[in-house]
Amino acid sequence: MPDVIDVILRCVLVLAVFMVLPLVIGQMEHKAMAHMQSRVGPMAAGGFHGWAQLVADGVKFVQKESITPVAADRRVFELAPAVALAPYLVALLAIPLGPFFGQGNLIGQDLDLGLFFVLAAMSVGVLGTLMGGLGSGNKYSYIGGMRVAAQLMSYELPMVLAAASVAMAAGTLSLVGIAQEWEPWWLITQLPGLIVFFIAGLAELQRPPFDAPLADAELVMGPLTEYGGMRFAMFLLAEYAGILVLSALTTVLFLGGWAGPFSDHIGWLWTLVKVMAVAFLVIWARVAYPRLREDQVNALAWKVLVPVALAQITLTTVLVVA
């Protein structure tokens, strides 16, 4: 019986993190982006500096009508938001949060193949956007969907290569194992891998400056053009959940997860701090850089990231063997 309670408790905890942290990141995006542009961002909702803005947005989205275009492929169109959102929840299940006041490691489920599992789940998340693009029966959506496909093809490779380099250095595919094997000098030897992984992750999430598939100036909103109400809100939540998963994965793979002073007790806090710092970088990149053209997006992947990732793997191999 305690096993059942344990499982339920873990699921509830992961679900709570999944519901709360993306909103925190979203709010951080609102406020940090506003201040970077010399604005103040939301101020009214909730009273204190607009802290409840995303809750208010959610309430608004719920009230809206869900419209399915006549030309749309109904099943695919309606399933797409769920396909975009759910994989991030699944991925979050396998990401360790670190030791909690000497209670052992906080994690939904420690998998031997954790790294593969999380990367696979992240890629499925992108398929949701692709489904939205191809199922909407709209030319803008279709072109956006094509761009999503091209981007997914290009950036999956450098991302997996960079992750493979870390797995090789740690000698394990378990995320807990990798974080435990992490040593500070990895920050230097795995730095190219870290940069490649972060950039490829940004591109996979279609975050600016890699938002050519959405490109609201040319493609209206790309694959999301026909979505409104709750379905659009799910895509929006998927975007922030994606940032969370990418940040958490970067933290665990390259930044040592819960490594830090007193990590036996407050390791989980170190992980959260690092996750938020990486999420801030994601937001910062959005504000600082203009969107890449479609050919530039692919050129960056094939001409820069893949060679760098391969060089990183070679370097790691030499270090591991030597």
């Binding site: 940090a32 506003a34 970077m36 010399s38 604005r39 103040v40 504000v287 600082a288 850089y289």
Partner: protein, 170 residues
Amino acid sequence: MTYGKGLLQGLKVTFKNLTRRSVTAHYPDVQPDLPPRSRGVIALQEENCTSCMLCARECPSWCITIDSHKETIPATTEGGRDRSQNVLDTFDIDYSLCMYCTICIEVCPFDALHWSPEFAYAEGDIVDLTHDMNRLREWMWTVPAPQALDPGAEPSKELAAYEAAAEDPE
């Protein structure tokens, strides 16, 4: 080597902005600090108006409506001539037409029209944007005193003329 310089500069500029206070005016919570001579609403000092119609004629958008009648003031001395005076019946400004060009105020020979900095007079019905002369008179209470001269500036010509007249008893 300048490759990648722009990337770093983008990060630098945005981060500098992040650490600075934003310049946003929190309008409904904090009243704006308006510059002197702000063009908010036109106030009418009815007592100064002679119904000369200059403002109504010059108005490019035809937003001023004036109606008046003549009243006779009986002669004060015996055998004197009766005088007549214009009395305003209507003085309306339609703010749905007004373009705040300030020509009516410039052209008024008797200083009957003034700018007031009050700007919050939105209405639910366009008809209510026509302010009649009672409402225009009320705006007079919000007209600020003339802006003080810059320190060390020449005194105005009107003041010099006034002082010259006061000194000369003849």
